[in-house]
């Protein structure tokens, strides 16, 4: 059997401690943070450097064994779900910060370095790495590249794709190459841009060059309470209409606030229907002038708290970023959803989500990046009470609602295994076939993280189903030929 031969070869090339074969240990790799899907891999490789990653991938290619790259396993869409009888290639041992260059404002790191450790390494130069996913203390930069991770501050500063200068990649046939360059000008196609966010399906990243930014001169943060999510949403609209681009605008509804308050003392008002966290950063005069506008635009707020100092601000963000985990205190089980609607349809989306929750008899807490319409409904349920299927259906329906409203199935968590079967709601067969051409150019054998992103008959059922109008067509946003 090919896996046995592969195991022997990798044991010889990577050493006994370079692979994992015992079943109990293999089980720890069976899922990422989307724990509902579990597959025990046939083998785990633990390469120590880029060369060993290439050795592992080349061996997989030779034996035609599928492989899946894995960073910290914090992904929320099952992007690192193993393939049965396949190999997981863990990047956990590639965790060196190779260089921080304060003159050219960049860092060269291995893929297993955590997002936050890049900023820590850069801090002594007054620099930082901008994208800040809520899991930044543990998630790795390699995973961020795979998922094109966002975070609260990407409204102003952009996503992972906007902050990567180059990646060293082991392609699915085991050859190593570099995409990108020393600056954001590439001679030829933007293969770097095409690669970032492909969820580990085009190759394995073994090195990353990230841009570093100077920390802003001034940061001002406020928390504004509102009587309804609608009032809070109106305030967001007013801020955007005034031409302000905040570093972040986040919204939490009452249920989310209750959860956060139980976990972290961040000082959120437990009685408010909705709270906005708005942060402005930049040069002092610019920020002060805009902050004055901002407080005026929050006229309907029932209360406004302005962060006193850096410590207070950190507390507010700690609360916000703890929201997902904190919900565990309100409910024994929950799904974290991730969808996007055009910002102007936030109110409609929230109303519909509330109705759908009521109908299903299931509570939904809402935490979201209000500035860019990225919703994170938390669907609260109990396995014990047998609510799993109902909750899962509701969670999926919410993501699909986002598409119906002209938005997207995912803003930052990825499609992975979780949403592959929903992709036909957002993309036509031709759209997906065209994306597959890119995949085929990188991975003609289809060995690199198979079964992710694209719907497959095995995952989604044999029949593709009859033609249905694309939701954007129905909404009059697009037209078919």
């Amino acid at each position: 059997m090919s896996l046995t031969d592969l195991r022997d070869e990798l044991a010889a090339r990577l050493g006994r401690d370079g692979i994992v074969t015992d079943p109990a240990h293999l089980r720890t790799y069976e899922c990422d943070a989307l724990t509902g899907y579990r597959v025990v891999p046939g083998l785990v490789a633990l390469p120590r450097d880029a060369g060993e990653v290439a050795v592992a991938v080349a061996a997989c290619a030779r034996y035609r064994v599928p492989f899946v790259a894995r960073g910290a396993g914090t992904g929320l869409s099952g992007g690192a779900l193993p393939v049965a009888d396949g190999v997981v290639i863990s990047l956990q041992r590639l965790r060196r910060v190779v260089e921080v260059d304060p003159v050219d404002r960049r860092a060269t790191v291995e893929p297993g370095v955590t997002n936050l450790d890049i900023s820590r390494a850069a801090a002594k130069y007054g620099l930082y790495y901008s994208p800040d996913p809520s899991s930044q203390q543990v998630c790795t930069i390699g995973g961020n590249v795979a998922e094109n991770s966002g975070g609260a501050h990407c409204l102003k500063y952009g996503f992972t794709a906007n902050h990567i200068l180059a990646v060293d990649v082991v392609l699915p046939d085991g050859t190593a190459t570099r995409l990108g360059g020393d600056a954001p000008h590439q001679a030829g196609f933007d293969l770097l841009g095409a690669f970032v966010g492909t969820e580990g399906t085009l190759g394995i990243v073994t090195g990353v060059v990230v841009r570093l930014l100077h920390t802003p001169a001034t940061v001002r943060t406020l928390v504004a309470n509102f009587d309804s999510t609608k009032d809070a949403g109106d305030a967001v609209t007013a801020v955007i209409a005034a031409g302000i681009v905040p570093a972040a605008i986040e919204m939490m509804d009452n249920l989310a606030i209750q959860a956060v308050n139980a976990a972290v003392d961040a000082g959120f008002d437990p009685d408010t229907a909705a709270a906005l966290i708005v942060e402005l950063d930049g040069p002092a005069d610019e920020v002060e002038a805009r902050f004055a506008d901002l407080t005026r635009l929050c006229a309907k707020a029932t209360g406004v708290t302005i962060a006193r100092d850096a410590e207070h601000r950190a507390k507010i963000w700690q609360g916000r970023k703890a929201a997902f985990a904190a919900v565990g205190r309100l409910s024994p089980n929950y799904f974290v959803q991730d969808g996007v609607v055009p910002r102007t349809r936030l109110g409609e989306a929230l109303t519909r989500i509330a109705e759908m929750g009521d109908e299903a008899g299931i509570r939904v807490a809402n935490v979201f990046h209000a500035g860019d319409g990225n919703l994170h409904p938390l669907v609260l349920y109990s396995e014990e009470r047998g609510e799993h299927e109902r909750a899962e259906a509701l969670s999926t329906a919410i993501a699909e609602l986002c598409v119906e409203l002209g938005g997207s199935l995912s803003g930052e968590h990825g499609i992975g295994t979780d949403k592959a079967c929903s992709m036909p709601l957002m993309f036509s067969e031709d759209d997906l076939a065209t994306m597959r051409r890119l995949r085929a150019a990188f991975d003609p054998e289809g060995l690199c993280n198979p079964g992710k992103v694209f719907p497959t008959p095995r995952l989604c059922g044999e029949r593709p189903g009859p033609y249905r109008p694309h939701p954007l067509e129905s909404a009059g946003v697009i037209e078919r030929l």
Binding site: V103, D104, R105, E147, G150, F159, A161, L171, T177, R178, L179, G181, D182, A183, P184, H185, Q186, A187, G188, F189, D190, L191, A194, V196, P216, T237, A241, G243, I244, G282, P283, D285, E286, V340, P342, T344, D372, G373, G406, G407, S408, S410, G411, E412, H413, I415, K419, M423, M426, S428, D431, L432, T434, M435, R437, L438, A441, V477, E479, L481
Partner: protein
Amino acid sequence: MRPQSLAELRDAVRDTHGTLLVKGAGTAEGWAGAPEPTDHVLETTGLAGVITYNPADMTVAVRAGTPLTALQRELADAGQRISLDPARTRATVGGLVATADSGPLRHSYGGPRDLLIGVTVVLADGTVARSGGHVIKNVAGYDLGKLLCGSFGTLGVIAEVVLRVHPLPPASRTVSIPCDATEAVEHTGRVLEARLEPAALEWCDGELLARYEGVESSVELRAAATPGGTTLSVPDAEAAWRRVAAVHDHDLVVRCGTRPSALPAVAKHATSLASSAAVGVHTLAATDVDRLREEFTQVTVLRHPPAVPAWGEPHAAVPLMRAVKRHFDPDGRLGPGRFRPWF
């Protein structure tokens, strides 16, 4: 052929045989390798106009043949803009994506790749495909829009794009710091370390220009606080930024990407140079492209006399570019001659 709708464009590609040159306003016709004579020329200028624009969503969907300046005028009525300021003022939006062109605003906003959130493309076999969508934050599916940036019409015909928009700044000021290319690196570091956040920071032939955008009081203060700088009057500022754009008017124009600190090394190969000094993207009237290519990898020859080859030694990712080309355009219909001798 000059199709007037997506359906006509699809038919024009699907129902013809032979090679095709995609042409927008024709402002970058000779860039990146002179195209060979083709069986058909497909003009995109009939595909013009905004499809959907909702200012509060900060996005606009537009047909690819729309000139950027026309789009900017429409957005300005709502107090918004596309934060893209290429030297080619007549260029179409689709052409700017296909050439990955940008101007000094790349310092804060990047280029087309960073502003493009959705695309509709017609492939060489007539397949119509979309990727991305109408929302700024979106990770569903592959981002084909970025793949098309810098593809120079060789992977597909860009039919429609969805772009991110930004608010028009209420005020702006330009500061000039006279300096040579070596000093420019130091001045750039100082401006960034002072956290003055210029919207553009461009060194051009003996001066570093910092443009501040924002509220009136703030741009005034930031301009005054710029170390070693003099605030320019409005006409002087306009003239200075015209000089930056005029670098494109030479006979041999090259764009290359380097570490920002390599600016002096790049300047040695230029008779005229506009450089986004903090970014490391340079546009230059080059003296000797071969010498430049010996030192730097990411070099794109924009305008060039026929004797100068557009591309040098293939870089590490060229084999992948070829594989992508094979899968998107297996018969080599689109833009033959571009990227020669790479493919």
